[in-house]
Amino acid sequence: MLAMNYRGPYRVRTEQRPMPEILHPEDAIVRVTRTCICGSDLHLYHGMVPDTRVGSTFGHEFIGVIEEIGPLVTNVKIGDQVLVPFNIACGRCNFCKQGLYGNCHESNAMATAVGGIFGYSHTAGGFNGGQAEYVRVPYANVGPTVIPPDMDPDDAVLLTDVVPTGYQAAEMGGIKEGDTVVVFGAGPIGIMAARCAWFFGAARVIVIDHIDYRLEFARNYAKCEAYNFKSMEDPVVFLKKITDWYGADVCIDCVGCEAEGNALQTFTGKITLMQAGAATALQWAINSVKKGGIVSVVGVYGPPFNYVPIGNVLNKGITLRANQASVKRLLPKLIEHVQAGRLDPKGLITHKVPLEEISDAYHIFSAKLDECIKVVLIPSTKS
């Protein structure tokens, strides 16, 4: 089968690889029909996530058809069209039982700091991902969800990560009616978080980024204000000023470890790797939120350590909330939002590329060429 193959930082290709096999009685094999490149895949692509091994296949956003099931799989059957949450979750441990499907205790032997994730380095379990024609899906009784027959596959594939992560980013913000919400990052997750902030009663949603075409996209898609931090002397002062010198009620970090905008963070986090990426967005979020405000983090950072103003978290009485999205928990509500026309996930897709052209797809997304927002890869086995 054809699959993506990571060869080192900024180098990926497709090649023929052995078909995945059932390795556990609750496994399924899924024939992939759509798979995306996630913004967080770029952290792997750029070599920012420790224990990303050459030869791995990335991809944690995918949908497909069940081709084979293990002897203990009962919740899905061969031929079902399923969307597969990016978290690998057993459904039995005390984290899964409490809805924390992103923190499963039985899906990652290599680290306790994160649950298992498809195609997201050995730090996240060493699973091959869905940027391939076929993929092994563990715990097939828990994750895979049958796609409603009337749902567009382009909407379905974005329900595996982008929509739940953006939604949970807003949800973790504890947004109250009338709140001002600032979202850092105008990538797909940031745009979705800004869109979802309205569901919780926000009165004002502001997106901060430095790429003009993305800011324009965010304005149109999420009906929000959007500002380029490169056009301002100090984004924190700017945000204080436009919130009556009070600070935002809620700040959301949708950027993670490859932020721009602070020379020291960039030098220590991206150039010398003295910390787990540049935590500029998180620093700005902490410093821009009001006293007693909430900072929600869904931007991905490496596991080791980051320089952030934790003293300000204490002194301002900030509540810091963060997690990998619990996709399975959110799916029923989000499917309803999509079916009711309140959310338009596929509106984020700007590029559809054959799986064979994955090297160019990664480069287009990484270098933000051709006004790229979201790339969907189509394997040739889709029909």
Binding site: R11, L23, R92, Q98, E106, S107, A367
Partner: protein, 161 residues
């Protein structure tokens, strides 16, 4: 102090201020109290361990399922094995892993040649799309690299003379 069989509920005031709504993880977490059962839950069947798995020292055994992509090998594998002797709390876990990743990229190139594959690095880096969408920047990069190379070359050859 042994606390396991200690009847803490007899401490004066125990539990008086319990507030079920004081749960900062809600709604992410549907708090059931099961956390207090720790690792006492119905365990899934185990995936047979038939490849080398580097297990975190912060857990007692391999998780019920695990990925089998790219088992450790070569020099990078040796470094990864060293890293996994240390907990996720330690620099000596993560920094060797980053080093191993960089070495692994070179091992990948050697492996390609051994398998008769000449890696097309420009193609792997997506230069076709760079040509299509960012030609001016690419031309600038090539020109700058060319000029620097020429300057270096002429400096080195002058020194030899």
């Amino acid at each position: 102090m042994e606390t396991k069989n200690f009847d803490y509920k007899n401490i004066p005031g125990w539990g008086l201020d319990i507030d079920e709504r004081n749960e900062p993880t809600y709604p992410m977490k549907n708090y059931t109290g099961d956390d207090h059962k720790r690792s006492d839950y119905e365990k899934p069947p185990k995936q047979p361990v038939d490849v080398e798995i580097l297990k975190s020292t912060e857990r007692p055994e391999v998780s019920a399922v695990f990925g089998n992509a790219s088992p450790p090998s070569g020099l990078s594998g040796m470094i990864r094995r060293y890293a996994f002797k240390h907990s996720e709390d330690r620099y000596r876990h993560w920094i060797p892993l980053i080093l191993a990743d960089r070495i692994n990229a070179w091992e990948g190139i050697i492996e390609d040649f051994r398998s008769g594959i000449i890696p097309n690095i420009p193609a792997e880096r997506g230069w076709k799309s760079e040509m299509k969408y960012n030609r001016a920047e690419l031309t600038k990069k090539i020109l700058v690299t060319g000029v620097i190379s020429l300057v270096l070359l002429s400096y080195l050859t002058r020194k030899k003379r």
